[in-house]
Amino acid sequence: MVDMGVQIGGLALANPVMPASGTFAEGLADVVDFNRLGAMVTKTITAELRSGNRVPRVAEISNGLLNSIGIPSKGLDYFLSETLPFYRQFESPLVVSISAPTADAFAELAGRLQLPGIAAIEANISCPNIEEDGHAFAMSASSTSQVMRKLRAASSLPLWAKLTPNTGDVVAVARAAEDAGADALVVANTILAMSIDTETRRPTLGNIMGGLSGPAVKPIIVRMTYQCARAVTIPVIGCGGIADANDAVEFMLAGASAVQVGTATFVQPHAMTQVIDGLAAYCARKGVDRVADLTGAVSDAGLRLGDSEILP
């Protein structure tokens, strides 16, 4: 038997597989046994009511999709009275994804979520769809540090920072989040992107730009996972285009301690449980006793980044 348990900061998970925020909700319980998941991650909630962006909110591309949902939210009271009781009936730890317009508002919201049935907070400091031109806290180390410090002071729950690939220096942002007290990093959110219908000449999304996800982004996020995992001592949770167990293994070898499956669930509702079963099968086949031993186990000995010879 393979030991599938992993440790994310202070939180022990029965296995390293969980949903990516925004790709998981009550409706999936009609199809998938939530008690099999390493954790459950909610759609991002905000304290205030939000209507979300105009349609079209989704556009298909080769091997993935663009979305610009815009975090529609029924607010904190609805979450506490309706959503939280639904998730409390399952045994898997619940991670609540939160967003807010300011660092202070982030902290205020986190402070109100220290409740039974909530195991951790995932700070969505990286949504490309809610600020003008796709701006987000996690695009810079300084704004990441600012918001994470306030969150840390406001909550004693495990605090995960969800980073964005839309930054020039993800390593600096990762270190800033760690220094500010994050217990784990989620690497990463969607990549700011755009597509145009050449027949109508209209942007395919109502919001013009949106976030790219799905298999198309995987190599970029594997690279960022590798970079971040080498730069910090806290666990990294890989998230970007994972559709099957092989993808999950790749992220763990790159340095992830756990993985989030997102867009793949839209195509294969059973994707998460298939990844769990496939990870166990991979470990059994490779003689790996503990799935956690895969973390950072890429065989990169003897290889160096940027190790090219300058020719005369």
């Binding site: 925004g22 790709t23 998981f24 909700a25 009550e26 409706g27 999936l28 319980a29 009609d30 199809v31 759609k43 209507s51 979300g52 349609v55 079209p56 909110r57 989704v58 298909e60 591309i61 080769s62 091997n63 993935g64 999709l65 979305n67 949902i69 529609p72 309706e82 959503t83 009781p85 639904f86 009936q89 799905g214 669930t265 839209f266 195509v267 294969q268 509702p269 059973h270």
Partner: protein, 285 residues
Amino acid sequence: MTAAGAMAANTAGSVLRLPGSGVDDVRAQVLSNERVNDTYNLLVVAAPGPASRAVAGQFFHLQCPTTDRDAPYLRRPMSTYRAEPQSGVVEFLYKVNGAGTRGLASLEAGDYLSMLGPLGVGFALEPDWRHIVVLGRGVGLATLAPLAEMAAARNIGVTAVISARDQDQVLSVPRFADIGAHVEIVLDSDGSSSVDNVERLLRRCHAEGHADAFFTCGSNRLMLLMQRLGDELGIAGQVAMEQQMACGLGMCHCCVRDFRVAGETVSRRVCWDGPVFALAEATSW
């Protein structure tokens, strides 16, 4: 899903769901997939489980095959044209107009298709209704045909007003005729599909006492007409709606539409809160 899970889901959403709604992702074998006219194809699959659970107005999320030309990434929602518990057959009527439906058209008898469902909220018939009017156009009729059959099975009379470009595009008449529906065909080609003429037909149904409820699908123009008349004449109604969709399970919030509820605009998910909605609350699309 456990009964407890479904009950809790009820409290979490605005929609009543029966415990053990029976949604699953199944591999269905294609029995046939043929053109029915210039525009529409009929896909027939063997899916015994879903066939016994699908209610008129519900849909399935189909994984469309990759072809030489296309690799559709997302599934495509397709309303149920027929779901027969006895034979285990499920049918879909579709128009080929993109990567997903081109993929569907490539399926041949014997092939397999992943279908998630049945999904969403279907049509509901009140016990005191004796006669309903269904009004549809194009592929919207595919959604209304099983409703007519559900009504007939409950001894509710049906008037079907079928709108089409021309006689060649008229769909599903035998489906409505077989259950004894009174069928009215209105066409663009002879002008009979005009809003004015359809309004006259609907008013006549009402005057004859044959309009306890209105149902529509497939045309914004006809939906607005039915909504206006329903409001004026005090006739309840339901409309089946479409929207670009990703997950099909209410998770992603891509397929929202606006509804007018008590004077306020409310956003609802077509896949989860619908696809069938109260006609009075629908807004133009």
